[in-house]
């Protein structure tokens, strides 16, 4: 697979630019700009991580295909935008398609392996990763240049906006706004609707939920659909920044996994917080390089992973994850 070769470049590129910046106390504007921009990137990681967490919470499955599913539907969106369809119509059509794919995946390939040996769903999602990646490559990205995806009509990717203490692009501001809207919508869904209550009950205890008359199968399917939709939002928002090609999501998904684990795999707010922490650290560290200063910028990735593992050693289920109670 040529994924292998491209992954190496994808992993090394973020740290490749090595700028000597003024220290924060001399140029606070730059520092805060980097922090806010990091929050924007981080909330995209957070959205993908949120998709992973939503699935893990309800079905105990780590969806390795989360990023590739989002990539696939974003490419569909790109095709529609090439055909001059209105941005927002495309946005919601892509979301609907993502939901349908998520539900279909749960129904057809995840359900047969549920209740079997615990590692089988992992293999299924790894298989899905390969399938979606190669389908995307076949349809859109066969040896072609990365494709540009437009930013939302509300904020250009090129114009900067001054917040007083920081300067970021309009698109980054929109990313933050949309992330907040998604979180708010999920909060309202889970905590203030009967459907959300049913989904939470299913996640907590499927047997008891079934006895209460909840259609557990439908809830799981809905959970996968919801997760794919959240992932698709992340894909649409990251596409203007990173451009669309086969490795776009590989750059994002590793940080998203790190974010999900850092926040705790069963905590949706944790995923967002984890994503934002990672986004800020990544941005600030690549600007000032004080993290890997002893090692040089090449080792920023290993150092970042070391920090993640160190945090996990102190809190084995992430920052906000619930401790598992073990019974015989």
């Amino acid at each position: 697979m040529d994924v292998l070769a491209s992954l190496a470049t994808a992993l090394s590129s973020p740290a490749a630019t090595f700028l000597a910046a003024d220290p924060p106390w001399e140029n606070p504007d730059l520092f805060f700009s980097q922090v806010v921009a990091g929050m924007a990137t981080g909330s995209i990681y957070g959205l993908i991580a949120l998709g992973i967490v939503l699935i893990y919470r309800s079905t105990d499955v780590i969806n390795f295909a989360q990023g590739e599913m989002a990539l696939f539907v974003t490419f569909v969106g790109w095709s529609m935008i090439q055909a001059d369809v209105n941005y927002w119509i495309v946005f919601f059509l892509v979301l609907a398609l993502a939901g349908a794919i998520g539900a279909l995946v749960e129904r057809t390939v995840i359900r047969p392996v549920e209740g079997g040996p615990v590692l089988n769903p992992v293999i299924v999602t790894l298989g899905l990763f390969v399938v979606f990646n190669s389908l995307t490559a076949f349809i859109w990205a066969q040896g072609q240049l990365p494709k540009g995806y437009p930013a939302t009509p509300l904020g250009s990717h090129l114009k900067a906006v001054d917040l007083g203490f920081a300067r970021i692009t309009e698109h980054q501001l929109m990313v933050l706004v949309i992330a907040v809207i998604v979180m708010l919508a999920l909060y309202l869904l889970f905590n203030h609707t009967k459907l959300g209550l049913a989904m939470r009950a299913t996640a907590q205890n499927p047997q008891a939920a079934r006895l209460m008359g909840i259609n557990v199968g439908q809830m799981l399917m809905l959970g996968w659909a919801l997760s794919a939709m959240v992932g698709a939002v992340g894909g649409i928002l990251v596409a203007p920044i990173l451009f669309l090609d086969l490795v776009t999501m590989l750059r994002v998904i590793l940080f998203a996994f790190a974010a999900a684990v850092l926040g705790g795999l069963d905590s949706p707010p944790g995923a967002m917080v984890g994503g934002i922490i990672i986004g800020i650290v990544q941005n600030v560290a690549s600007t000032y390089s004080f993290g890997p200063v002893f090692f040089g910028p090449e080792l920023s990735l290993p150092v970042a992973l070391l920090v993640l593992v160190a945090i996990l050693l102190v809190r084995p289920t992430g920052l906000f994850g619930r401790r598992a109670v073990r019974r015989v």
């Binding site: 298989g127 993640l308 593992v309 996990l312 084995p316």
Partner: protein, 393 residues
């Protein structure tokens, strides 16, 4: 002779011996393994150079898979980063067998080949110990993601400290020639194949001894329930670290073999995808089974070829070459749905099959079909209040 014919002969011969009534029951498994090994030893003389080198890779990844299976299948700890130990073993062998004139602090004399392979295993095991201790704190998906970090983090480190490792370009080593008494019999590829096969057999034997020993029983007890194992007086932490160390030792030995058969090791030789594929291999081959691990190695090497053939068959030559990963992924998903306990599990169930069971299945077929049809009746029953979940016919 064609490669797949040879494989078919090997499997058929082994299966025949496995059930041959003339052989005493207690010797059948051993005899069938011996026959299988015999056919496999004959294969490199008939299937051609390319297939022989592919079989060398099968044997090498088989060693990794056995080690990983000891950790994941028998002890229940997930590792997606085992490629790191393979890389470490390969680098250890490359550095030790070199005379290293440019390194003042290392002994300038080159190690003999076999000593370097074993030393590579022990160096990887030391790293495994160092990883296994912190891994005690983590479990399940958290351990999976953290272990993936291992194989992501290692290449930049190897590339950075290039005094020892040769940086991004890696180390190119002269490959060991066959020993004198074999030099006339074997060509290069056959020699590498038998080198890898011998190591695989020895390592499989070692794994079999471990699994059947006190250690193996402790590994399994810890996997099934840590709390229960603790209550039974098993030092859980000690055995988990031990499993990690042994598993890394296997990775290191395989890395040494890989290095000596390929002749080149770079930081990217064992990438993330390959590392995850080791894990895929043991689940597809069969968790908690030594033979399953070797089958997993076989699948890992030959499934891409097979799915390319299948894809070109279905979609035509040009599209098939591009779409083969789709088939590959679909086959992975299909296998795991149809064989939840891997290929080894399916073979095990098949070997338990008796004529009476077959007759029973044929007898019950109409009922089973009817039940399946009823299960999916919701798909076509569109009348309100009917179909799934209503409890009515």
């Amino acid at each position: 002779m064609g490669f797949w014919w040879a494989i078919a002969i090997a499997v058929a011969a082994a299966a025949t011996v496995r059930f041959a009534p003339v052989i005493p029951r207690r010797w059948r498994v051993l005899a069938s393994l011996a026959v299988l090994l015999l056919v496999v030893c004959w294969m490199p003389f008939t299937v051609g150079t390319f297939k022989t080198s592919q079989m060398t890779t099968v044997a090498t990844w088989g060693i990794v898979a056995i080690g990983l299976n000891l950790l994941t299948g028998y002890n229940g700890q997930i590792s997606l980063g085992h490629g790191a130990f393979v890389t470490i073993g390969a680098y250890a062998v490359a550095i030790l067998t070199d005379s290293k004139e440019h390194l003042g602090f290392v002994d300038a004399s080159a190690w003999p080949f076999w000593a370097a392979i074993v030393a590579g295993g022990f160096i990887a095991a030391a790293f495994g110990f160092a990883v296994g201790v912190p891994a005690l704190r983590l479990s399940g998906p958290y351990l999976a993601v953290a272990s993936l970090g291992l194989v992501i983090a290692l290449p930049p480190v190897l590339a950075k400290y290039d005094g020892l490792t040769g940086g991004r370009l890696g180390i190119r080593e002269p490959q060991p020639p066959p020993p004198g008494f074999l030099a006339d019999l074997l060509n290069r590829d056959q020699w590498f194949f038998f080198l890898a096969l011998t190591t695989l057999v020895l390592m499989a034997l070692l794994a079999w001894l471990i699994v059947r020993s006190r250690w193996g029983r402790a590994f399994i007890a810890v996997r099934d329930s840590e709390v229960a194992a603790m209550a039974a007086g098993i030092p859980v932490a000690q055995y988990k670290v031990m499993a990690y160390t042994i598993s890394a030792f296997y990775g290191g030995i395989a890395g040494g073999i890989f290095m000596s058969t390929i002749g080149l090791i770079t930081p990217e030789s064992i990438g993330i995808i390959l590392s995850i594929n080791y894990f895929t291999a043991i689940v597809i081959g069969g968790l908690g089974s030594i033979m399953g691990s070797i089958i997993g190695g076989f699948v890992l090497v030959f499934l891409p070829d097979l799915s390319t053939d299948l894809a070109t068959g279905i979609f035509g030559d040009r599209q098939g070459k591009q779409l083969w990963p789709t088939i590959y992924g679909a086959v992975l998903i299909g296998v795991i749905i149809l064989m939840p306990h891997g290929i080894a599990g399916a073979v095990h169930r098949l070997s338990r099959l008796r004529p009476a069971h077959v007759a029973e299945a044929i007898h019950g077929l109409p009922k089973a079909l009817r039940q399946t049809a009823e299960r999916f009746s919701w798909a076509w029953d569109i009348r309100p209040g009917r179909g799934k979940g209503t409890g009515e016919p």
